[in-house]
Symmetry: C2
Subunit: 181 residues, 2 copies
C-alpha cells in the first residue's frame, strides 16, 4: 500500500454534484456546485473555488485483527449502485494532538468504539481516509464515503453515533458535504 | 505543540559545515559544502543543491509514561556546546507501512528498544524528529541530532545500537550526514 495524494476540488466541475454543505463545528466552506476527486494529484487546480488535499496512507490506530475484519468486509469505491457520497473534513484540537499514542488509541476505540461502530455499517458504506495534517491543510483528515441512496439514512445514523462519542469532544472543525452523481 | 514544517537545504550556504555524507543503505545524496536548517519553511530554496522537507508533529509510537521521561531528560536544540550535529534521513520499506499500528509499536519498542536505547544517551544528545512520508518526499523521516564534539563517540554508539535492531530490518534507505558549526 504505497501512499498516494488526493485533491478534492470544489467548483463548477467534477463528477459529483453537491447536494448540500453543512458546517458542524468551526469555519465553513464556501458553497460550490460540483466536486472533482483527483486521485494522485498534489496540485491545486486553478479553476477550483477551494481544494482540500490529503494522502491515503498507512493506518494510525487500527490493530491487525481489526484490520483483517475491516478489509474482509469493506466494499471498494466506485460501486455502480453507490451514487451518493459524503466528504467530511475534520480538524482535531491541539489537546488531541498533545496526547500520547496510547491515550489517543484508548479514546478512539476503548471509549468511543470508532472501529466497532463503523463495522456495523459494512458492507453498505465504502470509506477512504485521507491524512492532511502534515500538509499544513486547514483540516487534519478528509473522509470520503460512498453509498446507495437507500443507505443514506443508515449513513446519517453512523455519523450521529460518532458525533456523540468522547473522541468527537476533540473535534474543533467539521464540515459535512453531501453529493450525488 | 502545533506542528510546523522544516526544510533542510544542502548547498553552499547555511550555519552547518558538512563534515561527511555516508550512504548506509539505498540511494545516496549528492555532496554539498553546507546545510541550512530552515524552520517554518515549506518552500525549496532555489539556490540549494537538494532540499529535504519534513514536519515536526505529534508522536506516533511513544506512550504517556515514556513521553514524560523523554521530555524531562531531553535537552533543547541550540545549546552553545553542541557544535556538532547529524541529519539522518530514513526510508522504511513497504513491508513496514503494511503492518498495523500494534505490530509497528511491538517492533519499535518491545523488540528493538528504540526509546529505551535513546534514553541512555540523554541528556548528551538533543534530537528532533521530522515526518516526511505524507509530503511525497524521498525519505519517510528526518532525524536531527545535536551534541558536543566529545559526545560524538557516544552518538556513533547509539546509531550502531539502533542499526542492529529488528526495526532497522525495515529500513531500505538511510543516509548519515555529519556536520559542525
Amino acid at each position: 500500500m504505497p501512499s498516494f495524494p488526493v485533491a478534492f476540488a470544489g467548483g463548477k466541475e467534477g463528477t459529483w454534484r453537491v447536494r448540500g454543505i453543512s458546517t458542524v463545528v468551526g469555519a465553513p466552506l464556501p458553497a460550490v456546485e460540483r466536486l472533482a476527486v483527483l486521485d494522485g494529484t498534489r496540485e491545486v487546480p486553478q479553476s477550483a473555488t477551494w481544494t482540500l488535499r490529503g494522502v491515503v496512507g498507512h493506518e494510525r490506530y487500527v490493530e491487525r485483527s481489526e484490520h483483517e475484519e475491516l478489509a474482509a468486509r469493506s466494499p471498494g469505491l466506485g460501486r455502480p449502485e453507490a451514487t451518493r457520497a459524503a466528504l467530511i473534513p475534520i480538524k482535531k484540537s491541539e489537546a488531541w494532538w498533545s496526547l500520547s499514542q496510547d491515550e489517543r488509541r484508548a479514546i478512539f476505540e476503548d471509549d468511543s468504539r470508532h472501529i466497532e461502530s463503523g463495522l456495523k455499517y459494512l458492507p453498505a458504506i465504502a470509506r477512504r481516509l485521507h491524512h492532511s495534517r502534515d500538509l499544513g491543510e486547514p483540516f487534519d483528515f478528509l473522509t470520503w464515503f460512498e453509498f446507495a441512496p437507500q443507505d443514506e439514512v443508515r449513513f446519517d445514523e453512523l455519523v450521529a453515533l460518532l458525533r456523540a462519542t468522547k473522541e468527537w469532544g476533540f473535534v474543533d472543525g467539521e464540515v459535512d458535504i453531501r453529493l450525488e452523481r
